[in-house]
């Protein structure tokens, strides 16, 4: 279901589009696991009801317009809220994919994109429990704690386009707010000790709850506050590595603002091409993915992808970095 409107005011100098949508995807076919003693490996079932609701807003304004100069500002905003309403008869929970560090689990009432991993054992007050070595105790099982969700809260963009005589300049700023992943790359590299932030505390002196994860309160098993200091190596050996990394220790936010595109161009004056077969000619310098204005993920670009599977979104595991490109665009009109 989708409703919206497009509106134009002031001789097209003010543009406002708005859309609200709600869509439910249901009766999907998926295979459900069967016990190994049943003699069959899986059963196909219909099921699932996943709901997406959201808004998309586009606002545009021509702020200045005269013969020599114009300035257009376009802003767009999109927000999507996802909810898992039902899975199937007899299933409230379905693990869609898993690897060493995380399980993608669909739970009724949760969201698509919830990432579960190992976490820190906590007491009833929510404090992290450390053992006699001063290291946090890890929950058993890979899907114990919901650590992240890779979907953004909202996406937006701002485009400024300027024209001065024959020159045009346009800049697009892309904004993504919200979403998080647990990073497998950092888990492995931290255990190997090759990340810059693992240099601190190699001779000891790190206390969980003060130097590591200062936002958490850590208590010993008997309830007393944790004062045991550990070395970086001991800590990352406990939480990092390939076989059993603790996803809760490697969660990174995905909010970022970047300069997505910058175009500087020159349109040849009509006089120059009047007698040629060309109707118009424009030469531009185009730069894409130029730089981050802010990036919460710090060590990687939140837009990396590993492959095109359904389940590879939100999977940060040694993907190739994204690239910045600069090029030339030549445009002829006939």
């Amino acid at each position: 279901m989708e409703v919206g409107f497009d509106s134009r005011f002031f001789d097209n100098r003010l543009r406002f589009d708005f859309t609200y949508y709600k869509s439910n995807t249901f009766d999907q076919i998926f295979s459900t696991p069967t016990p190994v003693g049943s003699g069959i490996s899986s059963l196909f079932q219909n099921g699932g009801d996943i709901q997406n609701r959201g808004v998309e807003v586009v606002l545009g304004a021509t702020i200045a317009r005269n013969d020599n100069f114009s300035w257009d500002l376009d802003i767009n905003f999109a927000r999507n809220v996802n909810e898992v309403l039902a899975i199937a008869d007899g299933f409230d929970k379905l693990t869609v994919n898993s690897d060493f560090i995380r399980d993608y689990v669909l739970e009724v009432g949760g969201q698509y994109g919830d990432i579960f991993s190992r976490g820190f054992e906590r007491n009833d007050q929510g404090n992290v429990i450390v053992d006699d070595l001063g290291l946090p105790i890890i929950t058993p099982g890979r899907d114990a704690v919901k650590v992240a969700n890779f979907n953004p809260d909202w996406l937006g963009g701002i485009r400024n386009s300027f024209r001065y005589k024959n020159w045009n300049l346009s800049a697009l700023i892309d904004i993504r707010q919200g979403g998080s992943v647990t990073t497998f790359t950092e888990a492995i590299l931290a255990r190997d000790g090759v990340l810059a932030y693992t240099a601190e505390g190699r001779d000891g002196g790190l206390v969980f709850g003060e130097d590591i994860f200062p936002g958490e309160t850590a208590v010993r098993e008997d309830g007393s506050p944790n004062t045991i200091s550990v070395s970086a190596e001991d800590y990352y050996n406990r939480v990092g590595g390939r076989n059993t990394p603790v996803g809760e220790a490697f969660v990174r936010e995905l909010s970022n603002i970047r300069l997505r595109e910058l175009v500087l161009g020159y349109t040849l004056p009509q006089k120059m091409i009047a007698n040629t077969f060309l109707k118009s000619a424009n030469f531009s310098l185009v730069g894409r993915n130029l730089f981050f204005i802010t990036n919460s993920a710090e060590n990687f670009d939140p837009e990396i992808v590993n492959n095109t599977n359904n389940n590879s979104e939100g999977r940060e595991a040694f993907a190739l970095p994204t690239s910045r490109s600069v090029g030339v665009s030549i445009n002829f009109g006939f």
Partner: protein
């Protein structure tokens, strides 16, 4: 124009709705090219039996070497103290019941051997192959008894129900079904005595020979009867006496053996390449003490043997290591270099390796010896049968019956010695020569100790007998990382797997609550584990 288009559209719609699209579903869903279950005839049937016989013995190796390591090498091999783990991060030798490994072992059985066995048994019944149906019944009992001896209650009668829930059977019910199935099978086999099944060469164990299968079935029945001797002595005695009366294996010609070839290798030749286990200290202590020539068939001399830990005048270049070493010890001490690997035929990578022994004639002699000790009608005294068992195993491995000093083995009074030259006491104290005047427990210890040697490398059976009887006397672990099982104890069973809890939750919870008789831990004893 508009009207024509409208009429065309309506017409098209009607046509699509008019012709049904589900008419051809049955034809569409019938596979025209590939071989399906209903098409099996007597010419294809033997191929399924062949696979059903190979897979519980972890062949062909390319599919089964991983599960072989998980199921056999990492658990029963170290819990029977035949081998000790040298890989630093492998915890099963220190009593960690690693869930992921047990999961692999369990799933392998139900995904490969179990469907093939069920299909072979059921198809033989449908197509009227009564003899082959009897053979597969015996084989089914053989394959499943090792699984229930690991876990206890397991899915057995409900296997293959194609449902989302598969209920477990109690071990008592399973063993009772074993005895019933074996009795039915033996009846059919006796009726076909002297004959040969049409399976011929596809029966990779006996070539279709009915008399051999009869002896195998009776030997298996005797083994299982002895297993329940403490929990249900009457059931044990009746089945054991019936088995012996019907005829168990008496000579090595009756042994159940699978020949290996390049495609069906002995899985040991693959896993020895990974260098993760070596000879145990118990093997050194006991076989060095007995000056047992069979050591050369089991293990190779160590790279640098330590002559100082051998008794005076004895040359024994085989070195063992104690089970349950800590991860730090394994990371710092070069156990792989200092201790003995398996014997040469087992360590040639890519080589077919020694023939796979399923069951051999020495074992029923020891079982009959124990039965005679209990006063059952076993056709001999326990001393006679004990000696015959030792000799049968020596002959099976190609020895002449003397020990390494040239003296007669079965009458020798030698006892096990310290494996490290005196620092650690011997693993056991029993001599070879049978002491018929000893107490019941002393005689039992002698029987089981020699049986432990003769069973090598069938560690599943040795581990089961160790749990049942408490013998042979073996070294404690150096260390245990299982908080429930101390280093001087032993895991009594394997724990249920995570995928069973996930995929078969109701049935698994019901098995733990109603059938297991204790919590789902390694400390809960199985039904037959009832000695005191």
């Amino acid at each position: 124009m508009k009207k024509i288009i409208t009429k065309l559209c309506v017409g098209l719609l009607l046509i699509t709705y008019g012709t049904s699209c589900t008419d051809d579903f049955t034809d569409l869903n019938t596979d025209p090219k590939n071989f399906t279950e209903d098409a099996v005839t007597a010419s294809e049937y033997p191929l399924f039996v062949k696979r059903a016989l190979y897979t519980p013995n972890f062949m062909p190796f390319d599919q089964a070497r991983g599960p072989f390591q998980l199921s056999h090498s990492l658990f029963s091999d170290v819990y029977a103290n035949y081998f000790a783990t040298t890989a630093p991060n492998f915890g099963s030798d220190q009593f960690e019941l690693v869930g992921g490994w047990l999961n692999g072992a369990y799933r392998y059985f139900y995904q490969r051997p179990a469907p093939l066995i069920k299909f072979s048994e059921d198809t033989a019944e449908e197509l009227g192959f009564t003899l082959e149906n009897a053979i597969m019944k015996v084989w089914r009992v053989y394959a499943y008894h090792r699984i229930t001896d690991y876990w206890g209650p397991i899915p057995y009668s409900n296997f293959g129900n194609q449902e989302k829930e598969v209920a477990y059977d109690s071990q008592e019910a399973i063993y009772n079904d074993f005895f019933t199935s074996l009795e039915e099978a033996v009846t059919v086999l006796k009726a076909n005595a002297g004959g040969t099944s049409f399976l011929t060469g596809n029966d990779v164990i006996y070539g279709g020979d009915v008399d051999s299968w009869l002896k195998f079935a009776n030997t298996l029945r005797l083994r299982l009867a002895m297993r329940v001797s403490y929990v249900d002595p009457a059931l044990a005695q009746s089945n054991a006496e019936a088995a012996v009366a019907d005829g168990v294996m008496l000579a090595n010609e009756d042994n159940a053996v699978i020949q290996t070839d390049i495609n069906f290798q002995n899985s040991y030749t693959t896993i020895t390449q990974w260098g993760e286990f070596r000879m145990s200290a118990d093997m050194e202590s006991i076989l060095k003490g007995y000056q047992d020539p069979r050591i050369a068939s089991f293990y190779s001399p160590a790279d640098e043997p330590d002559a100082t830990d051998d008794p005076a005048g004895v040359e024994f270049p085989y070195e063992g290591m104690q089970n349950g070493q800590t991860a730090e010890a394994k990371a710092t001490i070069n156990f792989n270099g200092e201790t003995s690997n398996m014997a040469a035929p087992y360590i040639l990578g890519g080589d077919p390796g020694p023939a796979w022994v399923v069951m051999a004639a020495a074992e029923p002699y020891f079982l009959r010896a124990e039965g005679a000790l209990r006063g059952w009608a076993m056709g001999g005294t326990s001393q006679e049968l004990y000696n015959q068992g030792i000799v049968a195993n020596h002959v099976q491995l190609g020895y002449d019956g003397n020990n390494l000093s040239g003296d007669d083995y079965v009458t020798s009074t030698l006892t096990p010695v310290s494996f490290d030259g005196g620092t650690t006491p011997p693993a056991s104290t029993v001599p070879v020569a049978y002491n018929a005047a000893g107490s019941m427990e002393e005689q039992l210890e002698q029987i089981i100790t020699q049986k432990w040697i003769a069973l090598w490398p069938d560690s599943e059976e040795a581990y089961a007998e160790r749990r049942r009887t408490g013998y042979p006397s073996l070294y404690d672990r150096v260390n245990s990382i299982n908080p429930n099982i101390a280093k001087d104890q032993l895991p009594r069973r394997m724990t249920y797997t995570a995928t069973e809890y996930a995929d078969n939750n109701a049935a698994t919870m019901s098995a733990v609550d109603n059938l297991l008789g204790g919590p789902d831990l390694g400390t809960t004893k199985l039904w037959w584990d009832a000695k005191n």
